[in-house]
Amino acid sequence: MSESSAKAKEEIKGQTRGSSKKTAPKKTSQVSEPSLNMDELYELASLVDEHGFTDFEFENANIRVRLSKNPAPQIVQAVQPYAPAPAVQNKSEVKTEPVSAETAIDEDLHIIISEIVGTFYSASAPDKEPYVKLGSTVTPEMTVCIIEAMKLMNEIQAEVAGEVVKIYVENGQPVEYGQPLFGIRK
């Protein structure tokens, strides 16, 4: 699964989960007190949210309540509707930790991506030390890992010099085309 769609799905899942949480508490009879209690506030919040309001204000002689919400990002909605829920839930097997775009940009890392679909190995053999670890210094020609595809062991070179500051994949993990493997600070 590609990184951006994985992220979009994460977001959606988060949203879905978030909104389903709000189970409506029992109805309280009347606001007789000069202030709202927490139950009422819960109820108020879920009420306003259920109906998709983005703003709510209430005030009387004693109190004033205001609820507001940033509009949900429409882009995600526009794209997501067509992802059938079951499919989304089932997708997990080829999942990898998606690299955070901000991290990549903020730290100005060089990302080594996989140009091959296959299985990632951090060392040349199970009983050997990994080619690189966090903090390792690499040169462009240095092998950083192996990706096995169609029974062939492909040695992957760093192609830049720098320090390994991120390892996005684990030994033995399947990787797809374009998937980030390492973050190198030049």
């Binding site: 699964m1 590609s2 951006s4 769609s5 526009a78 794209v79 509707p81 067509y82 992802a83 059938p84 499919a87 989304v88 089932n90 997708k91 097997e93 080829v94 091959i116 679909v117 296959g118 299985t119 595809a149 169609m150 399947p174 990787v175 797809e176 085309y177 374009g178 998937q179």
Partner: protein
């Protein structure tokens, strides 16, 4: 009963056919793996599949035609079989062979048969031996102009020169006079070499006003084979089908039986298993000639599904699992009439591609309407692949009712943001000759010169 049971299938394709295969897998309880290029990360087949693997950058050669990537994706997701759809690697002997070597079931015939049918000269020879009528022509590739002229005299002009490795109309030349033959032969050989890296050409009789009729067959690993009747695929532009029908408005039950029986017998003789299609040229006098065999599912398979209620993809999977067909020819029932319009992202008059963002998309519903598509509102049609964005299929009691239904469906279908061939199809539905069923493969040429 099954030799193998598929728990998970990788679909080595994109677009509507990838979705189509996923739908049937879901119905069969088989898990699916989508593969996709970077351009297709938001594609519907990626979302509907249980798992998805990015296999390369946008160009097909580096993604959907990238055998190592696809096989690796199959291995890391641990699938039992690969469905190739149509196009891309569907008729690649190499790909089928690699799958076999990797112990992944290729949902299609054996590599040997794919190779045999992929070579026009060999296919022609094989089919002739199996009793299938073929056009009078050269049994072997033609090398010299002298040889060509000698043969052309036997066959009689006009003749057509075709690339042995060709398809889709490329490398074809019609020759009406003896004098033109040497020059045309040379051009055809050069074109064939450029297009297919194989300069072999052969010649055969050219039929002036043929119809393009194909027979759908299903064959299992045990020699059981049935045909599902014919499809009418005569409406083409530059050898690309625009719309298809089942049944053909002019095929009689006797002709259907005869063509079907010949196709079934040929399948059994060559040991074919999978769904498959025999393409025939039908002459005005009712005689028909083998053109080629497609060893895969076809774009136009839905019209056959509508009138027979067969699920062809399901049958492909069952056959690949080593199940017996379970139907006999007597089970075939053809009910009503079906038409499919290919909706392409193209200018409906100039036929220039029109990729881009689809701002509004509405699918017609109601009785007798089926839509196979991988498009949704907001989807961006990428410029890298085929321009077909949807197939609009209707089914009704009679051909006349089906045409009325297709008009209604075309009018209800809304695609905004890009140009499509919907207006062209509406014009064809309103064409008197089309309505009468009176046409040849020259229909579009004549239609376009009249309507522009």
């Amino acid at each position: 009963m099954k030799k193998r049971e598929f728990r998970k299938i990788l679909i080595a394709n994109r677009g509507e056919i990838a979705c189509r295969i996923i739908w049937t897998c879901k119905e069969m309880g088989i898990r699916t793996v989508a593969v996709h290029s970077e351009a297709d990360k938001d594609a519907l087949h990626v979302r509907y599949a249980d798992e998805a693997v990015c296999i390369g950058p946008p160009p097909s050669a580096q993604s959907y035609l990238n055998i190592p990537s696809i096989i690796s994706a199959a291995e890391i997701t641990n699938v039992d079989a690969i469905h190739p759809g149509y196009g891309f690697l569907a008729e690649s002997k190499t790909f089928a062979k690699v799958c076999e070597d990797c112990n992944i079931k290729f949902i299609g015939p054996t590599p040997h048969i794919i190779g045999m049918m992929g070579d026009k000269v060999e296919a022609r020879r094989t089919m002739k031996a199996a009793g299938v009528p073929i056009l009078p022509g050269s049994p072997e590739p033609i090398e010299s102009a002298v040889e060509a002229i000698k043969l052309a005299k036997e066959i009689g002009f006009p003749i057509i020169i075709k690339a042995a490795a060709g398809g889709g109309g490329r490398g074809m030349r019609i020759v009406r006079k003896k004098e033109e033959l040497p020059a045309q032969l040379e051009t055809a050989q050069a074109e064939a070499l450029a297009a297919f890296k194989n300069g072999s050409v052969y010649i055969e009789r050219y039929i002036e006003r043929p119809r393009h009729i194909e027979i759908q067959i299903l064959a299992d690993e045990y020699g059981n084979c049935i045909h599902l009747g014919e499809r009418e695929c005569t409406i083409q532009r530059r050898h690309q089908k625009l719309l298809e029908e089942a049944p053909s408005p002019i095929i009689t039950p006797e002709q259907r039986e005869q063509m079907g029986a010949i196709a079934v017998k040929a399948c059994q003789e060559i040991g074919y298993s999978n769904a498959g299609t025999f393409e025939f040229l039908l002459d005005e006098d009712g005689s028909f000639y083998f053109m080629e065999m497609n060893t895969r599912i076809q774009v136009e398979h839905p019209v056959t599904e509508m009138v027979t209620l067969a699920d062809i993809v399901r049958n492909q999977i069952r056959i690949a699992e080593g199940e017996e067909l379970g139907y006999t020819q007597d089970d075939l029932l053809i009910v009503g009439h079906s038409i499919e319009c290919r909706i392409n992202a193209e200018d409906p008059e100039k036929f220039t591609p029109s990729p881009g963002r689809i701002t509004a998309f509405n699918i017609p519903g109601g009785p007798g309407v089926r839509v196979d598509t991988a498009v949704y509102p907001g989807y961006v049609v990428p410029p890298y692949y085929d321009s077909m964005i949807a197939k609009l299929i209707v089914h009704a009691r009679t051909r006349k009712l089906a045409i009325g239904r297709m008009k209604r469906a075309l009018e209800m279908m809304v695609v905004e943001g890009i140009k499509t061939t919907i207006p062209l199809h509406l014009k064809i539905m309103n064409d008197e000759k089309f309505q009468k069923g009176d046409f040849s493969t020259k229909f579009m040429e004549e239609f376009l010169s009249t309507n522009s």
